[in-house]
């Protein structure tokens, strides 16, 4: 058992009421201490039920903080949830659903929550004002010294260094109407739209439907409103085309109304069930979006307003009504709107002493006030809390009368209390509206921004557009749902009647952006609780010229915490507006950006990570390699044989080197076979095929005879080399092009481009046939004998019938029709055999069998690489996108007789500069030193920096088994003129320098006798 001690009793839990399940007690721990809560609790409500008031520490001053809200806006009560590889720092206690065995710890404190050494920052706070770090730490001992200390103190929770064991996935959905938010407005909208038969998706961030109804004691048609919500939920569940996703946050609207949403499938459980992802990221593509995201309450800004026990009034009602928790025993209520009264009634109903209702409005004569007075509450108008006291929990507060001009009248009065419920009005959640490109329009009546104009396919309703009365939310919802469905072709567009509410009409609020301090007291008034931004910080920013809201934000970090200013931005911007003497809409607001609430990186990544980061491409011969000692290597998406171990060998440097050398030697002296299936193969058909190839290749293809292959070079439009490969003419109008593995997709796309866009007059079709054919190269002096033995009787592969660059499509091997090309990358007598992929292994085995007596062995990429360097063939490192044909010694392949892609650029001065690096061979003068690829070629390695450079080594073989010493290729300035001379190949990263002799590029059989043999 992880819980050593007995659970404490839930001292702050009401005996009845709430939506918790008292029959399902759950044990959990916080900071190592065991507690008990109920199913339906959040961590915050369960801690409050157990009388725990301090749940976190603030970012900068490390002030003890309690819970301020009951929702996603929570800035204070952030904890580390779970442990080990699943540790999740900065998790809002208000959003953690309680589960059995939950473990959470406080964060950003040392050594513990109650005694935090970093609280010294609070004492030093007068130095640590906004932006102090820009003004100091510049001279000795320098920023590096201080940064270490600051980094150690900064950050909130600690991440883990272990790999997350849980899975994530993505899900796509389409619908007619998406409703974001399952409060009364969203429920009404989803229901109306759903009843028409339209495809509807309803998402809500929380674990259930009802929104604010879950927190309030409203009634609908005389019954508890929450019962109405439950009945709507039940009806929605029965509608076949409606999908309800709870625990799902719509975090952003992207172009064309793609709504990103994250569903927490298993965050309310100890670990995800087998085969179930922890979270699922939804791509929702609705025709219409209805945003019914509700509103978020604003705190009042007064002295000590961050003390544990100071809560938003709406949150207090949530704890009372939904969780049956009493967040205090003696409460003071302070508000600039009628919510104060409403809260007082709920507090009283739960048996809590309401010491005082403070209405900051100078005069309010609304119905709520009348009711409160009638009920005997002590109401003080035009008054507010001016300072709150109590480090680890509230003990009381000063209250004073406001003079309406930023000061107080008369003396303040101390009122003992352990709870302050405060409300500064409500801020509509216009985040998604803003993501969709909608404007924010200031509204004086509610003192907040409302959604302004946006396209007709995203509408915002209910509290999210400032309609705070329940009846208005409902009528908004019924109307929007009907309209959205009918615009998608469902229903008549008429809204049903809304149920009847029992609302008490409300009087307007009176904006109040900060409360003056208790006369004579120095107080801290927090605007942004998480980042410890105070009224004074905002004034300082103003003094120093950081007066635009964007500068204010960046200078003070206002609104930059995990809550993104949900509770602080409007207060902060309003205070800046006041300092500037301008209106709030003039000053404006900062930009709303996704995500609405923070989203785990893993959820975005989904399955596309780890092994699945990119799909793996296997050749048709893969299974043979795997059964025959292969070591695979990643080559782009492909897995290709790197080399083959002999039975019983394990991977090591020695076995690898031996294998590679043996593979080269076998191929050069006998015969080898390798898998070249990954080379791109493009089928080119149509009467204009030859003309087309003649245009895209720099060398001529018009006259290529049927049954012949030719090496071709392709340039980009900018004149630099793009790709190479051999192309064969299978008939007058039918060609097979091959490309390098890496460029296969790009070359196909380019060919399609020229055919579809540039030369639509050419009658040619191109298709990839890479996957259709397994490809095997069969080079070596014995290759013809092996091939002759492999092909079925009747096929003639003699030098006469199949000469160098010959092609035949009529042979069969084991009955399988194959294409045989007499081409070679290694410089040996060689063939490439293409066999339909499903028969690839059968054909490969037939060839292996035929070669057995000749000592055939398979070779991998390493041996292939060495042999192509021995031949001086160019590959990826030479085709690096910066070389011209002439740089590579392929200048003769740029025809002067015709136009081809890239020719228009070939004459640029820089491309014809004789000083350009040219491809050469390089060998160590001492005959043994390795010349590593990536070495730089210089005349004088000891020259003063910057050392003039002549070029670099592109490819190298540490040992050419054929010539018996290391060889390499490089690009060297005026290289062809330097053949026979010596240069230095330096590798300062490893302190290596090698004297190298410049040679021709071809080290083996330069006349190409073997090819033709």
């Amino acid at each position: 058992m992880i819980f050593g001690r007995l659970p404490l009793e839930q001292s702050h839990r009401l005996l009845t009421g709430g939506a918790i399940d008292r029959l399902k007690p759950l044990s959990f721990s916080f900071d190592g201490r065991s507690y008990r809560g109920y199913a339906g609790d959040t961590l915050a409500s369960a801690l409050l039920a157990n009388g725990v008031t301090v749940m976190g520490r603030s970012f900068k001053y490390h002030r003890p903080r309690g819970v301020m809200s009951a929702g996603p806006e929570e800035p204070n009560a952030l904890v580390e949830l779970r442990s080990g590889a699943r540790r999740e720092p900065n998790t809002r206690a208000t959003m953690i659903e309680l589960f059995h065995g939950l473990r959470a710890t406080s964060q950003n404190r040392w050594p513990c929550l109650r005694f935090d050494a970093m609280e010294v920052n609070d004492l030093l706070s007068r130095f640590l004002v906004a932006g102090f770090y820009y003004k100091t730490f510049m001279g000795f001992p320098g920023w590096h010294f201080w940064e270490k200390r600051i980094r150690a103190a900064a950050g909130m929770g600690a991440g883990t260094v272990e790999h997350d064991p849980d899975g994530y996935e993505t899900m796509n959905a389409h619908c007619d109407v998406l409703v974001v938010g399952g409060g009364p407005a969203g429920l009404a909208a989803a229901l109306t739209a759903g009843r028409t038969g339209a495809r509807v998706i309803l998402v809500d961030e929380t674990d259930g439907l009802g929104g604010r109804l879950r927190s309030e004691r409203d009634t609908l048609d005389g019954k508890p409103a929450i019962a109405w919500a439950a009945s709507v939920a039940a009806e929605l569940a029965d509608l076949p085309e409606v999908r309800v996703l709870t625990r799902t946050t719509a975090f952003g609207i992207y172009d064309n109304n793609l709504v990103g949403a994250v569903e927490r499938l298993a965050d309310h459980m100890p670990v995800p069930p087998a085969h179930v992802a922890r979270q699922r990221l939804w791509h929702i593509r609705p025709q219409r979006v209805i945003v019914a995201a509700g509103a978020i309450e604003r705190p009042l800004v007064f002295g000590g307003n961050d003390r544990p026990g100071v809560m938003l009034a709406g949150a207090v009602r949530t704890y009372l009504n939904r969780f049956a928790v009493t967040p205090g025993k003696r409460a003071v209520v302070v508000a600039n709107n009628d919510d104060g009264y409403r809260t007082a009634f709920d507090l009283a109903a739960a048996g809590i002493d309401v010491m005082q209702i403070l209405d900051t409005r100078s005069a309010s004569h609304g119905a709520w006030r009348e009711r409160a007075l009638a009920a005997g509450f002590d109401v003080a108008e035009g008054s507010a809390v001016t300072n709150a006291y109590g480090r680890m929990g509230l003990v009381g507060c000063d209250i004073a009368r406001l003079d309406g001009r930023g000061g107080t009248v008369g003396d303040s009065r101390f009122v003992p209390c352990d709870l302050i419920a405060n409300s500064g009005g409500w801020t509509p959640s216009i985040h998604l509206h803003s993501h969709a490109g909608g404007k924010a329009e200031w509204n004086d009546q509610i003192a907040a921004f409302l959604p302004g104009s946006v396209r007709s396919d995203v509408v915002t309703i209910g509290a999210a557009r400032g309609r705070f009365a329940l009846s208005d939310c409902l009528s908004d919802g019924f109307k929007a749902g009907a309209e959205a469905a009918s615009s998608c072709g469902f229903g008549t567009g008429t809204a049903p009647d809304a149920p009847i509410t029992d609302e008490v009409p409300t009087a307007p609020l009176q904006a109040l952006w900060s409360v003056p301090p208790t006369p004579g007291k120095k107080v801290k008034r927090f605007v942004d609780h998480q980042d410890d931004v105070t009224v004074e910080d905002i004034e300082l920013a103003h003094r120093e010229g950081f007066v635009s809201v964007e500068h204010l934000k960046r200078y003070t970090t206002l609104g930059m915490g995990t809550d993104q200013g949900k509770t602080s931005n409007i207060n902060g911007h309003a205070l800046m507006a006041a300092a500037r003497g301008q209106s709030i809409p003039t000053v404006g607001t900062t930009t709303f950006r996704p995500p609405y609430t923070p989203v785990a990186m893993g959820a975005f990544a989904g399955r596309t990570t780890g092994r699945h980061l990119a799909p793996t491409r296997r050749t048709a011969l893969h299974d043979w390699h795997a059964a025959n000692g292969v070591v695979f290597i990643e080559a782009g998406p492909w897995l290709r044989p790197q080399y083959y171990l002999q039975p019983g060998e394990a991977v090591s440097k020695e076995t690898m080197d031996r294998a590679i050398t043996d593979e080269v030697v076998t191929t050069r002296t006998k015969v080898g076979i390798s898998d070249v299936s990954s080379l791109g193969k493009i089928d080119v058909q149509g009467p204009d095929s030859a003309e087309f190839l003649n245009r895209v290749y720099s060398n001529g293809f018009a006259a290529l005879p049927v049954g012949k292959a030719r090496y071709g070079l392709m340039l980009r439009e900018d004149g630099l080399v793009d790709d190479d490969g051999t192309t064969s003419r299978l008939s007058d109008t039918h060609f097979l092009m091959t490309t390098t593995t890496v460029h296969a997709a790009k070359v196909l796309a380019d060919l399609e481009w020229y055919l579809q866009v540039v030369w639509p007059e050419l009658d040619v079709r191109v298709s990839s046939v890479t996957e259709q054919w397994a490809g095997m190269a069969l080079p070596g002096p014995k290759a013809r004998e092996v091939l002759a033995a492999a092909v079925d009787p009747g096929a003639d592969v003699s030098n006469e019938a199949l000469p160098y660059l010959g092609v035949t499509c009529t042979a069969t091997i084991r009955g399988v029709p194959v294409r045989i090309f007499r081409i070679s990358f290694s410089g040996e007598l060689g063939y490439e055999i293409n066999a339909p992929a499903d028969w690839g292994i059968a054909v490969w085995e037939a060839v292996m069998e035929a070669g057995e007596d000749h000592g055939i062995r398979p070779y991998g990429l390493e041996a292939m690489g060495i042999m192509r360097i021995e031949k001086g063939h160019v590959a990826g490192p030479e085709l690096d996108g910066r070389t011209t044909p002439d740089d590579l010694g392929l200048g003769r392949m740029a025809s002067t007789k015709k136009w081809f892609v890239g020719r228009g650029m070939l004459d640029k001065p820089a491309f014809t500069d004789p000083d350009r690096p040219k491809l050469v061979g390089l060998v160590p003068v001492d005959g043994v030193s390795r010349i590593r690829a990536g070495s730089i070629l210089v005349d004088d390695p000891d020259a003063a920096t910057p050392v003039p450079k002549l070029g670099h080594i592109t490819s190298s073989a540490y040992l050419s088994p054929t010539v018996g010493h290391p060889i390499s290729l490089g690009l060297l300035a005026r290289g062809r003129e330097r053949i026979g001379q010596e240069v230095w190949a330096v590798f300062p990263l490893r302190g290596i320098r090698v004297r190298a002799r410049v040679t021709e590029t071809c080290f083996v059989d330069p006349e190409g006798k073997k090819l033709h043999g």
């Binding site: 150690a152 989203v599 785990a600 990643e634 490192p877 820089a910 210089v938 920096t945 300062p988």
Partner: protein
């Protein structure tokens, strides 16, 4: 209080910080200036600062359409390095890096330049070779770099994916120890304050809307706050370059693309330096505040919207989670975009133009933050002397026509690929 120091801070603390003055003035634009710099981003501000500091030219205005630092200087991932392959770039960026090393003292503003090391991972032999070539070239230029093998990388960053599960195993990497990060906003503000103190007028909310011409010369700049006469004009408007250039009839080898960036919730120190993935575009570091700052590829289409789309977000996160499977549970707090002036070879342009007294600073792609001081330095020189500094000779506008391209990646004239 104008001078910043620990003493002034203490003194102010004792008097409630009432004595601090504006970091820069908010002047009305004058009738005309010797030099007008268009664009109050890092480069524009640095240029004005060095015009005054190095060349004694102080009758200078910076015209900024919004608030200074609201462009890319305020929305980048703050990586500073000089690990370039090609000499034309390497010398320039190294000059810039050297300036970074003394910048806070020079400006009397802590830009929090932090040399925590920039590590580029490699995932194949070919990539190791390419890194080696770059590192060797840097060494020959006197620039620090180190080639790490797999084990070295594991020691530095044990939580990267060294498991069997990694799709692209880590072979090693190239480390530039002197590389690092800086506090982006502070760079803008520090240069602004520095320039202001030398007499430069910083004029915000002043959008350039056109030019008055006299033949091959620009005589005045039309703005949303009136027409302002000019001696010379330097243009440093990053993602908006083509638009402003079009006002004088210049067509440029530039496309505007959106690049997204992300910051996570603040964490205790988790990542020491800057790490970039080699098997896809992804880079990450941790801000002094504790947020992981990360980014990746462009959104691939021309865009002037400072926001991107979800597929790129997912791709960036996929790469990040693959490289560092320990950050999957870390939550992204905010995402945003910036408009990149993608040049056709992926390298910048600091150059004279066909218009006699108009100078161009553009084409930064996603690498111009690290260039800020160096760019300002050589651009100021180019404007003051009417000829390039030796460090921006290779960064000319003509190079596209002559073929003297600076294509670090060899991607060719396809901006989205750089």
């Amino acid at each position: 209080m104008a001078e910043y120091s620990v003493f002034s801070l203490v003194r102010q603390a004792l008097s409630g910080h009432k004595g601090w003055i504006r970091a820069w003035r908010d002047p009305e634009p004058k009738k005309s200036y010797d030099v007008i710099i268009i664009g109050g981003g890092g480069h524009g501000l640095a240029t004005a600062y060095y015009l005054a500091r190095n060349h004694g030219i102080t009758n200078v205005a910076i015209l900024e359409k919004g608030y200074i630092g609201g462009g890319n200087v305020g929305r980048n991932t703050t990586i500073v390095r000089s690990n370039y392959l090609l000499d034309g770039n390497n010398h320039f960026y190294e000059h810039s890096l050297k300036l970074w090393e003394g910048l806070s003292s020079d400006l009397n503003y802590n830009v929090m330049f932090s040399q925590r090391g920039v590590l580029n991972l490699a995932h194949s032999d070919g990539q190791m070779d390419a890194h080696a070539r770059r590192g060797n070239a840097m060494r020959l230029n006197g620039v620090d770099s180190a080639l790490l093998d797999r084990r070295d990388v594991q020691q530095l960053y044990p939580y990267l994916d060294f498991s069997e599960n990694a799709r692209f195993p880590i072979y090693g990497g190239l480390l530039q120890p002197r590389g690092g990060t800086a506090r982006h906003d502070a760079v803008a503000w520090g240069f602004a304050r520095g320039a202001d103190r030398l007499g430069v007028d910083i004029i915000q909310n002043c959008e350039v809307t056109g030019f008055e011409r006299d033949g091959d010369r620009v005589t005045a700049v039309k703005t949303s706050r009136g027409t302002i006469g000019c001696g010379r004009v330097g243009m440093a408007v990053a993602g908006n370059t083509s638009r402003v250039a079009q006002m004088v009839g210049l067509e440029l080898p530039i496309e505007s693309h959106v690049l997204q960036a992300f910051v996570s919730e603040p964490l205790k120190k988790l990542i020491d330096g800057v790490v970039t993935f080699g098997a896809g575009h992804f880079y990450i570091s941790q801000s002094d505040k504790g947020g992981l700052v990360l980014g990746g590829d462009l959104d691939f289409y021309n865009s002037y919207a400072q926001r991107g789309n979800l597929p790129t977000v997912e791709n960036v996160m996929a790469l990040g989670c693959a490289m560092m499977p320990n950050i999957r549970r870390v939550r992204i707090l905010r995402s945003w975009g910036g408009i990149m002036d993608m040049s056709m070879d992926g390298s910048p342009i600091i150059s004279k133009t066909p218009i006699d007294n108009l100078y161009l600073n553009a084409g930064w792609c996603y690498g111009g933050f690290k260039a800020t001081p160096g760019s300002g330095w050589v651009f100021a020189h180019t404007i003051a002397e009417d000829k390039p500094h030796r460090f921006n000779e290779a960064l000319s506008l003509e190079r596209f026509a002559t073929g003297h391209l600076l294509d670090e990646g060899g991607k060719g004239p396809t901006p989205k690929l750089h």
